[in-house]
Amino acid sequence: MRRYVIIGSGAAGLAAAETIRRKDASGTIILLTGDRHGYYSRPGLAYYLTGEVPEKQLFPYDRNHIRNLNLLWEQSAVVRVHPAEHQLYLEGAKRVDYDRLLIATGATAILPDTPGISLEGVVKLDNMEDARHILRLARRGATAVVVGGGITALELVEGLAARGMKVHYFLRGDRYWSNVLDEEESRLVENRLTHEGVVLHHHTNLIEILGRGGRVSAVQAQEGDRDLRLNCSLVAVAIGIRPRKNLAAQAGLENARGILCNEALQTSHPDIYTAGDVAEVIDPVSGKPVLDSLWGPAVQMGKVAGGNMAGANLIYRKEIPFNVTRIAGLITTIIGQVGSEPAKTPSENDLTGAIMRGDSEIWRQYPDAVVTQTVGGHNRLRLYVRQATLAGALVMGDQQLSGPIQRIVREKLDIRSIHNMLIAPNAPLSDIITQFWRERQPAHAAFGFV
């Protein structure tokens, strides 16, 4: 009987456990996790902060589902892995033996080394404990400062604003999320934030967090060329994440920014697999290792790694990167290539060498032609047009067209018949795409999902 050990109770770990159990009814599956809350929707933490969803709703599985998987679930951090001996150690020196091991330890928020960073009142948003911590500290009417340029930073801004805090948002560059959004989109998002009472500070660097009695009382920053001092009780930081690869590195597994693995998600030790945010998979097309920080790929990788651990022969094919998020109330779908022009100001990513949550490095490649359309003030369409295909798209606001566009990009549908129409000045992009899609589909299915 095979012994499978999984480290991590996140999206990748659970997907692997489910897949192993489906293939091997009798093997022993041991799931080790450092998170006492187990498995829950990490992206959902943002909506727990805004109050749209209560905490208990973030757990997708009831006890029965977990029980039916017949796992030995242990809440304990793994401190060391010994590949040659097929053993690992938990806190308290407890030993666990394995035949096949999965390291799905995810990624963790980077904290800058700003003076004052360890004061009470400095928060990040990685997990359930962080969300609870933030909610304990959030005070209606008090001032919060948020630092960072990506989705998680904005989710912190929105969450704290929804809790009645006066939020000051520090951006290092001249606009929000400049390596994914274009200028108009950034402006659209920023206008909506300002309208909600959020105070934006561009070109602003946090210099020091000041405290009184061990608690945050103010920040000192540089805004453009002037000094800024702001009293506040909370500082939220989301400047990027870093894969938790320490265990693998100490065990001598090959690693770079994450744990390196092949398309079967096998690490440099054949009985050890990896999946999710910690895995750095070699892209078969470019030959380069790529990191993702996305829920969907984490689940996909978990399935492939789990299947292979149980004897299957599966390959992880990196899909066209795809993410849906909600920024300043606007649902935004990002698919394929969407990188805007090289940033004029350094982004958080460049500075930390990390990537942002909900980000994919593949987005930042350059296109042939970019066309955009804004309708009704906040509905935005941006298409990356090649001769015969759409390389990528961003759909912000109304999502009516995002289903069809997802398929046009993913399936590399031939768009030569509309290419010239799309790149014409002031082209009505949404009409052109709607028409194109309608002509390809049986009338009744025109906008259904498949």
Binding site: G44, T325, R326, S402
Partner: protein
């Protein structure tokens, strides 16, 4: 709760027919859909399986569609609107 952040810009279309259908590739399992269902259907479980909500109890009130922060859900027979 701030109004703007709630306004997910999905139009609250009233539709007589049609079933709630998920695009599971968009779903991050946050559970807002199930939480807002007035009759307690576990919409998230459908989204996880990629299966339409084929329960005759479903009122097709559209509450789950409106609340979902990721545009996962829609009425299958929804007619194309302009962007």
């Amino acid at each position: 709760m701030l109004e703007l952040f709630r306004d997910t810009t999905i139009k609250h279309a009233v539709l007589a027919a049609g079933q709630v259908t998920p695009d599971s590739s968009r779903c991050v399992q946050c559970g807002i859909c199930s939480y807002n269902c007035p009759i307690g259907i576990d919409v998230r479980a459908h989204a996880l399986r990629g299966a339409p909500v084929q329960e005759n109890r479903c009122l097709t009130c559209g509450e789950c569609i409106l609340r979902c922060p990721r545009g996962v859900l829609r009425f299958e027979s929804a007619l194309p609107e302009r962007l």
